[in-house]
């Protein structure tokens, strides 16, 4: 399938170039985000009746993992409200660049942090407390507020969107999985970028800001670090930026060579499996351990969680590829071949989320009418009874997602193995075993 340039359609191009449609969505999102913080802090402590839990962990999560990431990649980042207040402060403007910009520190993020290890750590931190976070409104409120203030603080110290690029726990995995999405932002003609003076897409101009994600669009080869903010479409004086529709997982044809990205794939794959076992499984002792933070059982859970993600999963993967005959260093083979885990991990999350979301979606109606749990009935749905949805379709849908993910990963493994000139069989066997384990956990 060839690429289709969406920005050739005048309506789409104008909508992306103008700041107003994006601003309108931003404002709605920001209001929703602040309301989620307030609901978490002052609303009912009953999670299933609190807007913060229901709209963040059920509604938003469902949209993010089932629709936004698979089909729009970093589409969520394009409308995420978290960096907004900080960015407005940093720029001294809400819309176009002002004549005089405020003098913040505007530092470069130190080189040692210019990777996604901090995002890996921030995701794991949330993951280890997830049983409490997903069920306790005030903890969700505190975490959402912390993310907002961290983004503001980083915007006043560092240049561009340092929080999104290097710290956001959600942005890390969205970036990883955005490589599978059928949408991309790329330049049209490389030569135009080579000869372009001043590089306004990166450095900014009167027409717009330099890339908030610290990416030079002329060098973009994958979606991972492009936040689809559309700033470069506004600044490019040569109309050389395009948003394209493309085949799924086009970025994965060229495997990654970075260990931080490789471990992100393992973290996400392992977390989906652990969550499936703990949250959706029948083992009460595991739920107790994950929920009772600070107890001996919780520390055992933490140790097991980290051991699975950092030792067991990558260890077995390494053993599998150890004897693949090649002159490349093992580290490079490890990083490149782990690209195959990206589609599998995404589909593990889809399968896990289907169960979680379909079971709990009916809480959305209740929380919509009574978001704080104060006895309101705004839309007449406050007393809607809890009812799992489509439970008879769940198992076939999960099988479809997991087996589809396995096929996708096996094909990716073949391409990645072709690039580094090794056999894909060990990686395919690894993906097969992981899929069987996930099927056993979910079915």
């Amino acid at each position: 399938m060839a690429k289709i340039e969406l920005t050739r359609i005048p309506f789409i191009k104008n909508a992306l170039k103008s700041r107003y449609p994006q601003l309108a969505v931003f404002i709605v999102m920001l209001i929703g985000y602040i309301f989620a913080i307030l609901a978490g802090l002052i609303g009912t402590p009953v999670g299933s009746h609190n807007f913060s839990i229901v709209f963040v962990w059920i509604a938003w999560w469902a949209i993010l993992i089932l629709v936004a990431v698979p089909f729009f990649g970093r589409g969520w980042c394009a409308v995420c409200p978290i960096p907004l207040p900080g960015e407005w402060l940093q720029r001294g403007a809400v819309l176009s660049p002002p004549d005089k910009r405020p003098k913040w520190l505007n530092l470069r993020v130190p080189k040692m942090f210019r990777n996604i290890w901090l995002q890996n750590i921030s995701f794991l931190l949330l993951a280890l407390f997830s049983s409490v976070l997903l069920t306790t409104p005030n903890i969700t409120g505190v975490v959402l507020a912390t993310m907002l203030f961290a983004a503001i603080r980083l915007s006043t110290v560092f240049e561009r969107r340092a929080f999104c690029r290097y710290l956001c726990p959600v942005g890390g995995f969205i970036g990883l999985y955005s490589q599978t999405a059928p949408i991309e932002l790329r330049i049209k003609d490389k030569q135009v970028c080579v000869t372009c003076e001043g590089k306004p897409c990166y450095n900014g101009s009167q027409a717009g800001y330099g890339c908030p994600w610290d990416v030079f669009p002329g060098g973009l080869t994958k979606n991972t670090y492009c936040g689809l903010c559309m700033e470069c479409i506004r600044t490019c004086p040569h109309d050389n930026i395009a948003v394209n529709l493309r085949p799924f997982s086009a970025d994965l044809a060229k495997p990654s060579t970075r260990m931080d990205e490789a471990f992100k794939a393992f973290i996400m794959l392992g977390s989906a499996m652990i969550y499936a076992g703990i949250l959706l499984g029948p083992w009460g002792i595991l739920k107790d351990a994950a929920y009772n933070v600070g107890t001996d059982a919780w520390f055992t859970y933490v140790a097991a969680f980290l051991a699975i993600i950092f030792v067991a999963l990558p260890g077995l993967f390494t053993v599998g590829i150890l004897h693949t005959k090649n002159t490349l260093p093992l580290k490079q083979r490890f990083a490149s071949l782990s690209t195959a885990l990206i589609p599998l991990g995404l589909m593990f999350w889809v399968a896990f989320s289907l169960s979680f979301v379909l079971t709990n979606a009916s809480y959305i109606l209740t929380a919509l009418s009574d978001p704080l749990g104060l006895g309101w009935n705004l839309f007449g749905t406050a007393n809607a009874t809890w009812q799992p949805m489509l439970t008879s379709m769940l198992a076939p849908a999960q099988t479809l997602a997991l087996v589809g993910g396995l096929i996708w990963s096996a094909r990716t493994a073949q391409k990645a193995a072709g690039e580094v000139k090794v056999s894909p069989i060990p990686v395919i066997v690894y993906c097969f075993i992981a899929t069987c384990l996930m099927l056993w956990l979910l079915l």
Binding site: P282, G284, N360, L402, I407, A410, I425, F432, C436, L443
Partner: protein
């Protein structure tokens, strides 16, 4: 052409694995009674196994707050007050694996208070693993044919 024929064969094999009827062991239906203790946020026992056609009697005893039990797929439920018990009776006429879960908000981890009922062998799991194996085989063979 060879690739298309192989693809067709694999799709047909996949349909057989997914939907071919399996022999059902002839086991006379029985009455199976389970006493399940419900407490924040687990059932004990949390895994029930019965044969297809069995009459299942669940005596739900809640040992702390109000709990319930809702069986996915069967869409039936019962609730028990603290210290009280409640009975749920049904005929396990749908084979497969089903989650059962608390249907009364009982505390923070309520959405994850889950157990598992297996009626007969969990054939869908075995079929899914078969499909996964077939998928791997299909991808490997199709690659070799392209090469």
């Amino acid at each position: 052409m060879r690739f298309r024929i192989s693809l067709l064969l694999f799709v047909m094999a996949g349909l057989v694995v997914a939907f071919a009827p399996l022999p059902v062991p002839a086991i006379a239906p029985q009455e199976r009674t389970f006493q399940i203790d419900a407490h924040q946020f687990a059932y004990s026992p949390s895994e029930l196994k019965v044969n297809e056609g069995d009459t299942v009697i669940i005596q739900l005893v809640s040992s702390d707050v109000v709990h319930g039990i809702y069986v996915d797929g069967y869409d039936i439920s019962v609730e028990a007050d603290p210290g009280q018990s409640a009975i749920l009776t049904f005929v396990a006429d749908k084979p497969g694996s089903f989650r059962f879960r608390c249907n009364v908000t009982c505390g923070a981890m309520h959405p994850f208070m889950i157990g598992k009922l297996t009626v007969g062998p969990n054939n869908w799991l075995y079929r899914s693993i078969g499909l996964a194996a077939l998928a791997v085989l299909g991808v490997t063979v199709s690659r070799k044919q392209k090469v």
